[in-house]
Each structure stands twice: as C-alpha cells, then as structure tokens.
Subunit: 180 residues, 2 copies
DNA sequence: TGGGTCATGTAACCTGTTACATGATTAG
DNA sequence: CTAATCATGTAACAGGTTACATGACCCA
C-alpha cells in the first residue's frame, strides 16, 4: 500500500489539496511511482475515513472551492509504522510488459523484436535525461551524519537502472542482429 | 493489457484449463509477471467474451469437472496485433515500493533504512538463485537464425537486473554506514 | 476568439489481491 | 490419521486507468 504512504509522506511537508499533491507527487515521487490525479483524490478520501488525514473546505472565488488535507497524529504513526515494517517480498513487484512481449516474439518476424527494443531504448534514454535534469535542478544536497540524502539514493537507482536496461538492450540487439 | 496476451501466448502452446495455465504461468512467465490463480480464471472468462478463446467443459470423476480453453483465430490475430504494436511508454510501469520507502526514511532512524536494504538484498539474491536454477533446469536452448531464444534474453534481463540491484544496495549501504 | 493550462473533482471500468469453498489423493 | 497438495473455482474488495464535467485565466 505504498501510494497512501507516499501521500502521507508528502503531507508531512505541508498541508495540501488533491491538486497540490498531484503536482508535488509528479515533481518528487514520479520517478519511481506513477499515480494519476483521480487516484489521489480517492486515496485521500479513504485516508480520511481511516483517520490518517483531516480535510477542511477552503472557499475560493476565482477557482472552484478546494479541500485541503493535513496529516493527523494517527497518520503520522501509520507512516512511521510502515517505514519500520519489514516486508522484503512485497518490495519487489515483478510486472514487466517489455519482457512479456519479448518472450513471445518468436511468433512474429525478428524485425518486430528489434523495433520493440529500439523504441524502448529511446524511451529509456529520454527518461534518464529527464531525471538527470531534475537532479541538477535541485542541485547539491547536503548528506550529513544527521541527514542522509535518501532522495539522492533513489534518483541514483533510477538513473543506473536505465543504464542497466540500455546496456542489456544493446547486447540483446547485437545478439539478434548477429543472427541475420 | 499484458496478462491476457501472456495467456494467449501460453494457449498457442496447448489447450489448458485455468489451473494448468496457472501452473504454466508460474513456470514460465512468473520471473517477469506475477499473476494469481483467481485472476487467471477471470481473465479467461473475459477473453471468451471477446472471442479470443473458446472453452469446453470436461467431465472428470476423481476431480471436479474442468473447463478447457483453446485459442481462436481471433485470439491468434489479437496476439499478433499486440506483438506488432508500438507502445514504448506503456512498457515501463514505474512503481517501486523499495524506493518509496527509502525516499521517506529520513523520518526514522538510519538503522531502519539499513535493515530495509539488507532484507531486500537477501530477497534479490534468493530470487536470482531461483532463476538461475530454473535456467539450468531447462538447459541449453538452440539460438538459430530461424529461432532466436527470446526466453533466454528475458531470463538474462532478470538475472542481471538483480545483479544491478544488489550492486546499488551495496554501494548505498556503504554510503549510509560511512555516515555513522 | 480559440486553445492551453490552472484548478477542482466524479464516475465507470479494468486489473490485482485476499479469502473462502469443496472434495479427492498422497506423504509422513 | 492428519496435513499437504492436487484440482476446481467464486466473491468481495483494493488499487489503477480513462473519460468526463466545470469554469476562470492567459497567450497568440
């Protein structure tokens, strides 16, 4: 149940509306978690039922009224509980559409597998560049004994993960093209 | 929509019941796609409504009657269409619970992040060993101009992906422990 | 003045997870 | 004899996706 906890985490920074959270999420967590806006609204609703957040209506005139959410003590406790919980198996969600397609590519001409890999390679390069740009944008972040820069480890993972994928694609393309 | 297509792919090998498919899936595709049994039953149902498969009841006496599914021409066409389709963005589903937790680990003691990484490292090693064992079990598969061994590329990806993750964990642990 | 983005959400549907139900056969 | 596994599924719920609705403001 990572999405709810991601939202809790963001709400410890500041109170936010669904819209705000959606943007915040996009800026900070979207490299390793995709969530769309409507999903965030629904989750907030459920989190309020769970007592993890409270909301209050804020009247606005130039825009539609909004509902601003804040984390409760209960919510904070839940966030900490989740962070301390050990559940290694649940951390790896294996679901890879690329490999699914590749696995069955014997059914079609080899060219399709090659295009598949090449397109995906392009996608990886673009995604990698985007993360790098984002990281540069934030600039140097202090990593001290008091505060390890966890976000840095996460972006590092993401970038290197793309590197790994690109390297694997290149080798696989060589093998495929070598068979011609 | 990869699960339906995975099942279509398996059904081109042979006709199968939901139970058979569930085991087949486990043996062949589970390294890159997790699916549970009940999900497979439901998907088969929908695929029959779509005309991609047909089923027939098979009476059994020692066990409950079963429903055996076979792929139709329509289903085969759909499988090929999916294999040829270009959709690079949809191939990367970014949803990483490990990074979500790590990202917010500043909220708790550093020790929890260390345990998190160590537990996950163990998980990766076990998963890696399991795939290797499976690959050895199948033995050498011919890779010829006529038939590239796509399954081999997929397992190769999976193994190297675990290697990458383990390497990143080790470096991250060093950084974390260096801060003490 | 017409299209994009800001800003708020709702509704319907699809996909994935968990728990349960039933009864035979097999291993310790 | 008892628990595990084989073998078949169904039901309810949780999480994710797509499409739609409303209206102001901003830029070309």
């Amino acid at each position: 149940m990572s999405l709810k906890h991601g939202l809790l985490g963001l709400l410890t920074i500041r109170q936010s509306s669904g819209y705000d959270l959606s943007k915040l999420f996009q800026e900070s967590l979207s490299f390793f978690w995709v969530a769309n806006q409507s999903q965030i609204y629904r989750e907030l609703d459920k989190m309020e039922q769970l007592g993890w957040v409270v909301s209050s209506k804020v009247e606005q005139d130039a825009r539609p009224n909004k509902r601003v959410y804040g984390i409760t003590q209960e919510g904070d406790k839940e966030l900490i509980r989740w962070l301390k919980e050990e559940n290694a198996e649940d951390l790896a969600v294996v679901r890879n559409p690329l490999l699914m397609k590749l696995f069955f590519s014997g059914k079609v001409d080899r060219e399709y597998a090659i295009v598949l890999l090449k397109n995906y390679r392009k996608f990886c390069q673009d995604a990698r560049a985007e993360i790098r740009a984002e990281v540069e944008g934030i600039g140097q972040v202090e990593e001290t004994a008091a505060k390890p820069a966890y976000w840095l480890y996460a972006t590092d993972y993401s970038i290197r993960n793309y590197d790994f994928q690109i390297a694997w694609i290149d080798e696989t393309l060589r093998r495929l093209e070598g068979l011609k």
